[in-house]
């Protein structure tokens, strides 16, 4: 008898799992305990093993498919048996009806709780016309409102509560708002104000408000400058980066004795050997390009429904230019010698500063290094350049002490600030990367030997 295999539900909150790999293909013989397919939740990876013996008659989902829990995934049976009747796509409509009827019976209470709480999830403020009018009459401050209407709608009582709690904007501001609103000329039937009136009014109100603000407050001398495009792009990207990602920063420092010594050595012998003028930053770039190879989560691009891991490291280098921040990319950094890397980095920085950099080199990065250490910054929060998953901030060098054999010894310490996207990886792997990087830098000669 054909036996369907369902997608197991690994925990109550799991609604679906992704099939990552089929270990058997249709037609294969399957023994009890054989792994049929591998699948993962947002938290873990599992193997689904066969519980019956037979032939894998058919599969209903492909690798990469996101499968709702408890749906049939494949069917095991004897050769030649029919299995299409188990295909969830055939059963979908019938089952759905059953489900919804059950819903009507059993879940009204839950449904309503959803109604009440669903509100906060959406960005758009839902507010009844009556509540909105009350806001404009009273100046209730909607930033503090807790919607209690159906579907998260702000209703009259919510605004009344704000008023009762004294959560209103100042009367001057309220007057200003209503004064500007009163200036709107309705062009609809019977002088009704339409949305087009509002949008044209907004255009007029903006300078008017600015002018009145300027008139009433003395800002002293100021200069109004239109934003250049690059500023607009930076603004948009940085805001998108911060608002859309789950960024957090880990800070650490390492003993820079070895790299300082190494750099001093290079300085001495560079002309003789024809080496580039290798900076501390170059050394960090080099170390990062090597360590990243064994931390693929950070050498990656994250998209909503997938993540792309790269074999090589395309290192973005943040450059402060007169036009603003630019991040040219060193493609294949992991394949370059330290000297090559240093030269490339220098060249790109110069091109970026002079504005001659090839635009193609301003994208395609898999990881970025930014350095504020030269400006004396001890620790900061770099902002990820999406869709990358991490950015390493290089801090300045400070003198620290440590105990060596019971003696307190001063040493030169350099700070590192790693911001990573928690959507793509968790804290521990990020910390492991940082830890590996610290080891590599503290024993830089060993890294070079690799």
């Amino acid at each position: 008898m054909a036996t369907p295999v369902i997608m197991p539900r690994q925990g109550q909150s799991v609604e679906s799992c992704i099939i990552t790999k089929w270990q058997k293909k249709p037609g294969d013989h399957v023994a009890v305990g054989d792994v049929l397919f591998t699948y993962e939740t947002d938290k873990a990876t599992f193997d689904e093993k066969a519980k019956v013996e037979g032939e894998l008659l058919g599969i209903f989902f492909e690798e990469g498919d996101d499968v709702e829990c408890l749906l049939n995934v494949c069917v095991i049976g004897s050769k030649g048996e029919s299995y299409e009747e188990f295909d969830p796509k055939n059963a979908a409509s019938a089952e759905k009806t059953d489900e919804s009827e059950k819903t009507e019976q059993a879940q009204p209470v839950a449904a309503v709780q959803q109604v009440v709480t669903a509100a906060s999830a959406t960005d758009r403020l839902k507010i009844s016309p009556r509540a909105r009018n009350l806001v404009s009459d009273t100046g209730a401050d909607l930033r503090f409102v807790t919607p209690t209407g159906p579907n998260g709608r702000v209703i009259e009582r919510d605004v009344r509560k704000l008023i009762a709690e004294g959560k209103t904007v100042s009367s001057a501001a309220a007057n200003e708002y209503s004064a500007s609103a009163k200036g709107i000329v309705g062009t609809g039937i019977g002088g009704m104000i339409t949305t087009s009136d509002l949008s044209s009014a907004v255009e007029e109100i903006k300078p008017a408000v600015a002018a009145s603000a300027a008139a009433s407050l003395d800002f002293g001398e100021c200069e109004e400058v239109k934003l250049p495009n690059i500023r607009k792009v930076i603004a948009r990207q940085m805001h998108a980066s911060l608002s859309e990602m789950a960024q957090l920063t880990l800070n650490t420092s390492f003993d820079a004795t070895e790299i300082l010594a190494y750099r001093a050595k290079v300085k001495e012998g560079r002309e003789k050997l024809g080496l580039a003028n290798i900076t501390l930053n170059d050394i960090v770039l080099f170390a990062a390009s090597r360590v990243l190879l064994s931390h693929k989560d950070l050498n990656a691009n994250f998209f909503d429904d997938k993540i792309v891991y790269y074999k090589h490291v395309n290192l973005g280098v943040a450059v402060d230019t007169p036009r603003g921040l630019m991040v040219p990319t060193i493609f294949g950094a992991d394949t370059m010698s330290l000297s090559e890397l240093s030269e490339k980095s220098k060249k790109l920085q110069e091109e970026a500063k002079s504005g001659t950099v090839n635009p193609d080199l301003l994208k395609g990065g898999t990881f970025t290094v930014t350095n504020l250490g030269s400006l004396g910054i001890e620790s900061f929060t770099p902002v990820i350049n999406p869709p990358q998953t991490g950015i390493l901030g290089v801090d300045n060098i400070t003198t620290r002490v440590k105990t060596v054999n019971g003696e307190i010894k001063p040493y030169q310490a350099m700070g590192l600030s790693l911001t990573f996207d928690h959507r793509a990886l968790d804290g521990a792997p990020a910390a492991r990367f940082l830890s590996d990087l610290v080891s590599a830098l503290e024993s830089f000669s060993l890294l070079l030997a690799k």
Binding site: Q107, A111, V112, G149, P150
Partner: protein
């Protein structure tokens, strides 16, 4: 079910045979010479002339439809034209003897009948009376148009007739009823020409109703239902014939009113119902005249008449009018004829052969009649040619006038946008339709029901505030009774009939006591013929009377769909206000009786323009609204609920007044004041809403204002909008099924009218879009108090601590709508 009649098993079970009399077929065989004792030469020639008018009139329309030109007059007429070339002799023959007290009712193919009846009337009416009719009609508007050149009054009247009819057909403001009826609904009451009807067979019940009016109000004249052979396939026609012939007229009605209704069911039998051949294809009667034998023992004095010979038709009419004058109606006439042209100009006559058409053309009514007259030396070839010439000239002249915008403008709906709007209802108040003494059996104070009611408690609560027991309290049904009996003692034309209204007193005892008060002709049991019940009431009102008719259950509206939706609702406006329709249709909304006896169809009726719809659910409102309905001149669908016939008055302080008062139709009433949410109800859901309001107040500290719509059409939103402005929230509820509920219309209107005041969208609670299940399951079907609170909680304002039972979420709405349930 009168006790005076004994249903004897011996009689019913007796063996025997039923025999029929012979039905005459085309028995007329007189020569012109023999007929000279009945007709002068002038009469013979006038018959020819009248037929020529019809032939030319129809030919003119045919040419205009098919070539956009007639005799040099260019015109495009997009409206309908169902022409009757070939049927002229039957129309003229029928009209020849009729006076203006005799009413004809037509079909979609009745231009010929209108002209024939009009020409006959013009011939009979004195010149000064004729002139007055024209002068007084629509303020002399048509007269002024045709009066230009000097001519005799009769000449003028012929112009008047042809112009009024043609302008009506061409939808001109100068038509007989401002172009609002058109070709298929044309009429002119002063000549006894009652409306045509675009519904096949529609005139049968209406003509019977007008005949009922003549009998009940002792008016002269007869009524004729002119319908086609195709109409014999329609149930309402059979209902009408039976209604006109009920046994009670001869067996139970008082002496002065004895006898069947004075009506002729005349079938202009041209063998086709559009393209369906009745004889040989779609009907079973073989010969239409046979049907009379199936309706009454008198066989309806049925016979087949040769409609191709005007003299044969006149002969038949002479005999049939006599029968009706002997109170032996109704009569059935099978007037055989033939339509030469198609059903309409778009008809290619694919269902008949050219040979067939030619065979009839060879016996053409005008040619064969003039040939006979020439043979009998009544007229010469030149005489007939002269007549045809005169006719053609006149039709050409009038046609040119009727298509001329400057002479015959259309209604200007830009200048007077309310021109049609103000004709939808007559909105008059007329205490009695005729001023004469009423016929009643006793002084009202002697009536046992009136005496019983006098002992009842007119306010629903006792001194301690407890509800007075059902037996002692003045109930809603008593309120209806008081209003109805009051009007019976004021308006002599008022009659009531329906199923089981006499003796039984109506299924819900509203009429208990009326049997004692009223003679048969004012209160009688109708057959189980909903179409005839409503259709006759329409005819009764058209003829000048006032009627209350009852359909025992609201669901039976379905059996009278045409009569309610197409006839009752439409005639006031289609007649441009010339007809009034003071008819109250009582319908009882059931419960406990399942899917075909428990439906609230207020929405269905409200969707049809031209009907007023009221639904009182308190004794005070029931009496006041019934008084208002009976005082008015508009058709009112009067909804009653079987759930509340026995309630006492709980709202109107002081109880139900003993005297006369009216509750204005269209005004909702606030039954309970409140401040947090408005609940608007239609029908007995008021009481459901009040229970919900009580719980909201006692358990959740929410104060609900409950408004009873009382009326659905018309509806004054003022009070409701005012309430919504106060509360910001509104829920509307009734027992009508949710989909298509008129409450959805109201909710949409409220959304528009009070948008800025609303704290949530208006929410409508109706019954499920199911069949009404058994009584025991009704709480899953009809709105319940907890549904109202659930809906408020889920859709308007979540209530702290409330646990809903029903699902009113968006998802559930979408799911149900997707499934259509």
């Amino acid at each position: 079910m009168p006790k005076s009649q004994f249903i004897s098993p011996d009689e019913i079970r007796k063996s025997g045979v039923l025999s029929f009399q012979d039905i005459p077929l085309n028995q007329y065989n007189k020569t012109i010479k023999e007929e000279k004792e009945n007709f002068s030469d002038k009469d013979f020639m006038r018959i020819y002339r009248d037929m020529a008018y019809i032939r030319e009139f129809e030919t003119m329309l045919y040419l205009i439809k098919t070539t956009s030109e007639y005799n040099g007059v260019a015109y495009n007429n997009p409206g309908p034209a169902h022409l009757s070339m070939g049927q002229e002799a039957s129309a003229v023959g029928q009209a020849y003897l009729l006076g203006i007290d005799d009413f004809i009712f037509g079909s979609h193919r009745s231009h010929g009948e209108i002209l024939a009846k009009g020409l006959s009337a013009i011939e009979k009416i004195e010149d000064n009376q004729l002139y007055d009719i024209m002068k007084n009609f629509l303020g002399g508007k048509i007269l002024k148009i045709v009066e230009k050149d000097q001519k005799s009054t009769k000449d003028l009247a012929v112009d008047f007739l042809i112009y009024g009819a043609l302008a009506e057909i061409f939808a001109r403001d100068t038509g007989f009823h401002k172009g609002l009826g058109g070709s298929m609904h044309c009429f002119f009451l002063p000549f006894g020409i009652y409306p045509n009807n675009a519904i096949v067979g529609g005139s049968a019940t209406i003509a019977a109703g007008a005949a009922l009016f003549k009998k009940v109000n002792k008016k002269n004249g007869i009524c004729i239902s002119n319908i086609g052979d195709g109409a014999m396939g329609r149930g309402p026609v059979w209902e009408a014939m039976n209604f006109a012939a009920m046994d009670q007229y001869t067996q139970l009605w008082e002496d002065a009113y004895k006898g069947g209704l004075p009506v002729i069911f005349n079938f202009f039998n041209n063998s086709y119902g559009m393209g369906g051949q009745t004889y040989g294809e779609t009907m079973a009667y073989g010969i239409l005249a046979r049907v009379g034998a199936g309706v009454t023992p008198s066989q309806m004095y049925s016979e087949r008449v040769d409609g191709y010979n005007p003299l044969a038709v006149i002969d038949a009419m002479r005999r049939k009018i006599d029968i009706i004058k002997e109170n032996k109606g109704p009569v059935l006439l099978d007037t055989v004829t033939y339509r030469i042209a198609g059903h309409s100009p778009s008809d290619s006559s694919s269902y008949r052969t050219q040979e067939e058409i030619q065979a009839w053309e060879e016996q053409d009514v005008l040619k064969s009649y003039s040939a006979k007259l020439m043979e009998a030396n009544v007229g010469t070839e030149e005489d007939f040619a002269t007549i045809r010439e005169e006719v053609k000239n006149r039709i050409t002249k009038i046609c040119a006038m009727a298509v001329d915008e400057s002479i015959s403008p259309r209604m200007d709906l830009f200048k007077t946008p309310d021109a049609i709007e103000k004709l939808m209802f007559s909105n008059e108040k007329i205490e009695k339709m005729e001023d004469r003494p009423v016929e009643v059996n006793m002084p009202m104070s002697d009536n046992p029901r009136v005496q019983a009611i006098a002992k009842k408690e007119r306010w629903g609560f006792d001194a301690e505030g407890k509800l007075v027991s059902k037996n002692k309290v003045f109930q809603l049904r008593d309120g209806l009774f008081e209003a109805i009996i009051d009007k019976f003692y004021k308006d002599p034309t008022l009659i009531t009939y329906g199923e089981d209204v006499r003796d039984w007193g109506g299924a819900y005892a509203v009429y208990r006591g009326l049997t004692e008060a009223l003679p048969y002709h004012r209160l009688f049991n109708a057959p189980i013929s909903e179409s005839a019940i409503i259709g006759t009431a329409v005819g009764y009102a058209m003829a000048g009377g006032r009627a209350i008719v009852e359909l025992m259950y609201c669901d039976f509206i379905g059996c009278a769909g045409d009569e309610i939706f197409n006839q009752l609702a439409k005639w006031q406006a289609m007649s441009a206000g010339l007809l009034k329709m003071p008819v109250v249709v009582r319908v009882s909304v059931g419960s406990k009786y399942g899917a075909q006896h428990s439906q609230d169809w207020t929405s269905l009726c409200a969707a049809i323009p031209g009907l007023k719809c009221v639904f009182p659910v308190t004794p005070y409102d029931a009496k006041g609204l019934m008084n208002a309905a009976l005082a008015g001149t508009d058709p009112v669908i009067f909804f009653e609920s079987q759930r509340v016939y026995d309630v006492g008055e709980q709202f109107h302080e002081g109880g139900v007044p003993e005297g006369y008062y009216e509750v204005e139709i269209g005004e909702p009433d606030i039954k309970k004041q409140g401040s947090d949410i408005t609940i608007l109800t239609v029908g007995s859901t008021l009481y459901t809403a009040l229970k919900a309001a009580k719980e909201l107040e006692e358990k959740y500290n929410i104060s609900a204002e409950v408004i009873d719509a009382r009326t659905i059409v018309p509806f004054n939103y003022d009070k409701v909008i005012e309430s919504v402005k106060k509360t910001g929230k509104i829920l509307l509820a009734s027992d009508a099924v949710d989909r298509g509920s008129v409450l959805k219309t109201m909710a949409a209107n409220i959304s528009e009218l009070a948008f800025d005041y609303l704290d949530a969208p208006p929410v409508v609670i109706g019954s499920r879009n199911w069949i009404t299940p058994a009584f025991e399951l009704e709480k899953h079907f009809f709105p319940q108090p907890d549904w109202i609170i659930d809906a408020i909680h889920e859709r308007i304002m979540p209530i702290q601590g409330y646990v809903p039972v029903r699902n009113f979420t968006d998802g559930e709405r979408l799911r149900r709508e997707k499934l259509g349930v």
